[in-house]
Symmetry: C2
């Protein structure tokens, strides 16, 4: 939709990868709609994943005992976080929709992307205590996980060896995105592209591009417990 | 137990933290039993979390298209992974029990520790295809998650805002540890130490130390779907 702003947080090392193709068609399709699209290409940026003292410029609040969460909160309020974090926060603030594009590593995000979550979505910026879940600060924004798996769709069924794929979505969609207030759109899961034929991969990419044509008409999904696991 | 070898993979920035205390009493108690205890203090090591081309020394198999999983597998087989990964793999190989000590970040591991999982537990070392879940290569080893939470135990009940804590354990215990063959011991969850009194924190630390006295008598838990969520 024209005028909408999209941030794609992208975590793959190889531009020619299937993840790279999914990212590219999203940039193309959303751009063709007249959206402003920004991509944070984490590996290309050599994005820092570790949550450390270095994330605070200048003096910390308590030099005797380093509590990362507290120091990041205080630094956020003073505008004293490092520029890489502040830059990402600006991109998130501007965005109507944040798409996370990544291969599933150990039922979760690759560490470089986990580090983006850990460092960018800090207290004061994304949430406060209180001010989380439905009261999270990013509640006027949409988020969407577009991920690829090594395992097949069959493995990720309730009776499969890896269990229902919705089980691994829980920490990401509820614990992180919903906690910050995001309205979460249905995930885009591209199962086992490495086991697919070239034709099948093209079809999965085309399916994503097609979905994006009507992405702004979609309703958020329900991440709230305990019904989530009742399905 | 005398003669047993334990690796503690520890991810906290502050030695005087509650996590630091849990790590310290584990070192003390297991050492007193006559175990050999090794600690990988990830922040102190500035452990690299990103899975990149730099993890392979020398030539990659496919210079035109970088596939991290495949290249790490090939490098593992040739002994061509970087020394930081090889060092960690040696520690894991020697260990009878691997304890992960960390604060929960977004229902999961801090990125620095996620990066340890991503880079150390590579194909060829921890598993192969086939050769995963019960056939994972680390099947003669025990693993245990000792984690702390920001949220309270009440929040992490099935009817609480964060859902049953076992839901967030799933990707870690089943998707990662069980996948590699580890027999998983019950997690040690210290809820909300920051909200506890000094006495309550001391009691939680003492409880962990006490548990470790009989850790070698414990039976692994069942991480297998779908019964895991039936309880």
């Amino acid at each position: 939709m024209a005028g909408k702003k999209v941030l794609i947080v992208y975590a793959h090392q190889e531009p020619r990868s299937f993840n790279g193709s999914l990212k590219k068609v999203a940039v193309d399709e959303l751009g063709a709609q007249g959206c402003t699209v920004t991509v944070s290409d984490l590996y290309a940026m050599n994005f820092e994943p570790r949550a450390t003292r270095n994330d605070i410029t200048g003096a910390v609040s308590n030099p005797k005992f380093f509590n990362y969460g507290m120091e990041a909160y205080e630094a956020f309020k003073k505008g004293a976080l490092t520029s890489d974090i502040i830059d990402e926060q600006k991109k998130v603030l501007e965005a109507d929709l944040v798409i996370f594009q990544f291969p599933l590593y150990w039922f979760s995000m690759p560490a470089i992307l986990k580090g983006w979550m850990d460092r960018v979505l800090c207290q004061g910026f994304a949430f406060d205590i209180p001010g989380f879940y439905d009261a999270g600060f990013l509640k006027n924004k949409l988020a969407l996980l577009s991920l690829t798996t090594g395992g097949t769709a069959e493995m990720y069924m309730k009776t499969g060896v890896s269990g229902d794929y919705r089980y691994f979505l829980w920490p990401l969609q509820h614990g992180a995105l919903h906690f910050c207030g995001f309205k979460v759109l249905a995930p885009q899961i591209s199962f086992a592209p490495e086991m697919a034929s070239e034709e099948e991969r093209k079809a999965m990419v085309a399916s994503w591009a097609q979905r994006l044509k009507t992405i702004w008409e979609e309703e958020p999904i329900d991440c709230t417990p305990p019904w989530y696991f009742g399905q």
